[in-house]
Symmetry: C2
DNA sequence: CAGATTACATGACAATAGTCACATAAATCA
DNA sequence: TGATTTATGTGACTATTGTCATGTAATCTG
């Protein structure tokens, strides 16, 4: 199923512009280019499993990947959705631990795999790059603190409204009737993102639609009233 | 209220043995020692506020500090309890962001403050140290993923049982009738740790006591039945 | 294309957990 | 020490949310 094609060299990769690799020196870029693997993945495929050892880092050229943990009740808690330009698996690699989560493809993806040695070599030789990686980790940590606080202190309705706003921020494309969240997620996946039961998501989405906050276009969601969702998503506004 | 005393030099600090500073070179240690501030803090004092700029990192020589976020409903979500040998504030410093959380003293503490410049200097000059800091950040990230998953997928009863086990792991001292959690937390703080309402914690602790899983000794909690708590804390065991 | 599987939807119900109100105990402080 | 504040505890009630059962629609697959 996985396809190896000829890949764009990192030097010419457009996705790189917005990634941690954006300011690497020419030689380091070439080194990565020479050692990376470019693989096309189809929806549903697995990138890595929680508990296995990271052998390198993944760099998303295109597509969407969900990073999730499987809870003891069998449900998936989605930690984040990774898109073009995002890196995957570097936290486990640098933490020298097994993967703390699993990753599967949500939208067909083109992904480069940079082997451990190459990544670590560049990290060791390029202090500025190491600094940027550290900075990214710190930022992620802050995001996780926010998520944890929201998870314990906000209602599901608030969290779902907030999730929809975030999704429209990241995947939204402006249309004539509201902003379309241009990514197909099942209700179960939205539930995993919010941290709730699938049925609850279905019910709340219907409610949001009835209240004309959102609408559906095929499998995609249209955000009609951002202000309304924002009001719902927080105690303030 | 804050007291500046003569401090132990880092070279001789016992808490350092278990900290990120454990493997620093002599010159770097001396540099830190020369530039740090040693301050004694009383219970209830504030180390830093969410939203302010970090001017350095804190290194706990002794005592306990709670790191928390204030949710929009006014409740505190405790992110972690930091103890002897732990560092505070480095994620915000290295993330080049304002503090993402606040920190206050839970048990009287002796804390060294290492100014930004000194910390960054050592970080830049000692690659191995940088590597260790990165590793710690990655580890923390994994812990936050676990916490998020627990928060969304487990019941309060499970989370409280788990929290008690974790506390006894970290602060437990063996006694003749079970392990004593040797730290005084109010019910409100336990609620902040678990992410629930104070009343719920009070009720569940009474229940746990009735079921002879725990007992109270003054303001402290005795863990009588770890196995029982472990059974309660997870769907498996 | 038919059968199977997966996704979506809805109702009924139960249970968990939050809120509010109030009482008592403990700690702090003037 | 007495007064005030803070912490703990309990009851009553409600709202939210999860679970289970069931049905339909959509999608996949041989």
């Amino acid at each position: 199923m996985k396809t190896i094609e000829k890949s764009t060299p990192c030097e010419l990769c457009m996705s790189r512009k917005f990634s941690l690799f954006s300011s690497l020196s020419e030689p380091h870029l070439c080194h990565l280019s020479d050692h990376k693997n470019f693989i096309t993945h189809k929806k549903g495929q697995i990138l890595f499993y929680e508990g296995t050892k990271p052998l390198g880092v993944f760099c998303i050229n295109d597509g969407v990947v969900k990073v999730f943990k499987t809870a003891s009740n069998g449900k998936e808690q989605i930690i984040r959705l990774a898109k073009k330009g995002d890196f995957l698996g570097y936290a486990s690699l640098l933490g020298e631990e097994s993967y703390s989560n699993s990753a599967t493809i949500v939208e067909d993806a083109k992904i480069c795999f940079v082997p451990r040695e190459s990544f670590l070599k560049v990290l060791a030789e390029d202090t500025e790059f190491h600094r940027r990686v550290t900075k990214a980790l710190c930022h992620d940590l802050g995001i996780m603190e926010d998520k944890l606080t929201d998870a314990t202190q906000k209602s599901i309705r608030e969290r779902l409204a907030f999730t929809l706003l975030k999704l429209s921020e990241t995947y939204g494309i402006e249309g004539n009737e509201g902003e379309k969240i241009d990514i197909i997620l099942t209700r179960e996946e939205i539930a995993g993102l919010v941290g709730t039961a699938t049925e609850t998501v279905i019910r709340l989405l219907s409610e949001f639609k009835k209240d004309e906050l959102i609408d559906f276009e095929g499998k995609k969601i249209l955000v009609l009233d951002k202000r309304g969702l924002a009001r719902l998503s927080d105690f303030y506004g």
